[in-house]
């Protein structure tokens, strides 16, 4: 396992105490075993026995600390070569923290648009941890225009900084419909005597469609 350290692992390991590092090494070995045997893309809704690396995936927060849990879980998904079926199952059976890790892993693990239902699910929540994780490179690559515009509005509504939105500049540029939605939102806030989020002006500017 340690013969294949990823950049995430190299960044992560120094921040962990010895017990957490030993736990992580054992967890990665189990995930790599599952990945190399091709067992990790498990379609079954309820496999007869939960794979040991999946138990590690659930337990990452308490063993490595909440501040490292995202990185550890993403690393486990990569080592296990988790595919769309496994990622979808882990998302649906996961806590918010586990769902967040699945969302963060999507750009590295899924090439086509098959995981869009997970992004759409996360964008329907009001949990800013999930919304922020949903607007990464996978959404930038695959979300259609309507869904992407609503994701931007969702960020503005819920206070997720648009800095979290991947590829914002390119996708916003020339988007007249997004510009209209932002102007309407700003007008609604102004009419209510409420402040317009600073990020709204920033995105509106990026559209190049300010009138």
């Amino acid at each position: 396992m340690s013969s294949n350290p990823s950049p995430i692992h190299e960044d992560l390991a120094p921040g962990l105490d010895p017990a957490a590092r030993a736990w992580l090494d054992a967890a990665l070995a189990e995930a790599a075993d599952a990945g190399s045997s091709g067992e990790s893309d498990n379609v079954a809704a309820a496999p007869a026995a939960v794979a040991s690396w999946e138990l590690r995936f659930a337990a990452a927060g308490r063993h490595c600390g909440q501040e490292h849990a995202d990185s550890v879980r993403v690393l486990l998904l990569e080592q296990a070569r988790a595919g769309l079926a496994t990622l979808t199952r882990l998302y649906h059976q996961g806590t918010a923290a586990e769902r967040r890790a699945v969302l963060l892993a999507l750009p590295h693990r899924v090439t086509g648009p098959g995981a869009l239902p997970l992004i759409e699910d996360a964008l329907r929540t009001n949990d800013t941890r999930l919304v922020a994780a949903a607007v990464g490179p996978y959404a930038a690559a695959h979300l259609d225009s309507h869904g992407w515009r609503h994701a931007i509005l969702k960020c503005l509504f819920t206070g997720v900084p648009v800095a979290a939105v991947d590829d914002l500049e390119r996708r916003a540029h020339g988007d007249a419909e997004l510009a209209r939605m932002l102007a309407d939102f700003a007008a609604e806030r102004t009419a209510a005597g409420r402040p317009v989020p600073a990020d709204l002006h920033h995105v509106h500017h990026l559209t190049g469609e300010e009138s």
Binding site: A46, Q93, N126, T158, G159
Partner: protein, 282 residues
């Protein structure tokens, strides 16, 4: 003053409650899964509830600077409905989650054979997962229910010292203490215990292994009862260290048996207008 409410059903409470709890000193809580008032008819309904206790509710609590953990189980009342019994089969995949610090609430409601089965099975699940258990004692026929509960715990694989016997009162505290388990008291506006009676129990039995909770839910209840007990203790001559022991260190020690308590939630930012999260929707 720092307060840990070891039993409160925040799903049934508002954000005003979270705000008032934080202002009163509550920094951590445990939300046990329980009966929602309206009977459920399928396991899927439980799973959505468990997911909320592992997702949305901790997120809400964190907005108000409060660490949220939960206990999961098939509750005694619904253990009697065969449509809900398959929840027991799915519990193992939930009991491994980071936010789960005990199996619970389990125990007796009407003391039926189905409740016997669910209680024994879930004490075993607790032992299998390295988790303590939060055991509800029945409201009706309480003393005999407590004694039967203690017998089932004694026959189980779970050490009685990993069990919190909850909803105790003056008539059940002696038997419960002799069992070696932790002692939980729910302080209610009208029923169960009140803060002055709680102070009386603490004077008679001491503070060892005693936990005090509001058990606030969708019924008439008060999420600030933990603080009111603390104030009543101080007024009755207990010291601040006694208060800290009962209202913080004891619950931390009991749920800490799980190895899963994470109490470092940042203080809330100033609640600013326009943040839809804090309003709970758009």
């Amino acid at each position: 003053m720092r307060i840990f409410d070891p039993h409160i059903h925040m799903t049934s409470r508002t954000t005003d409650d979270y705000q008032a709890m934080y202002a009163s000193g509550v920094r951590a809580l445990v939300e046990p899964s329980f009966w929602l008032g309206q009977p459920r008819t399928s396991p899927a309904s439980f799973f959505d509830y468990f997911d909320a206790l592992l997702g949305w509710e901790p997120f809400r609590a964190a907005q108000y600077g409060i660490a949220h953990h939960c206990t999961l189980a098939l509750n005694p009342k619904e253990a009697n409905d065969p449509r809900c019994a398959p929840v027991l089969d799915a519990l193992p995949r939930y009991l491994v989650k980071d936010g789960v610090v005990a199996v619970g609430e389990i125990g007796y409601d009407s003391m039926t054979p189905a409740e016997d089965t669910a209680l024994a099975a879930q004490l075993q699940l607790a032992a299998d997962h390295g988790l303590p258990a939060l055991v509800h004692t029945p409201h009706r026929d309480k003393l005999s229910g407590l004694r039967r509960t203690i017998d089932v715990v004694r026959e189980s694989a779970l050490d009685p010292e990993w069990v919190l016997l909850d909803h105790l009162n003056e008539t059940t505290v002696k038997d419960a203490a002799e069992s070696g388990s932790w002692l939980g008291f729910s302080i209610y506006p009208d029923t169960k215990m009140d803060e002055d009676r709680m102070v009386g129990v603490l004077k008679a039995h001491g503070t060892d292994k005693v936990l005090v909770n509001s058990a606030a839910d969708w019924g008439k209840s008060d999420p600030l009862k933990t603080r009111k007990v603390a104030d009543a203790m101080l007024a009755a001559g207990f010291g601040e260290d006694d208060v800290d022991k009962v209202l913080w260190r004891n619950p931390v020690a009991f749920y800490g048996l799980s190895g899963r308590l994470q109490l470092d939630v940042p203080a809330p930012e100033a609640l600013h207008e326009g943040n839809s999260i804090l309003r709970g929707g758009e």
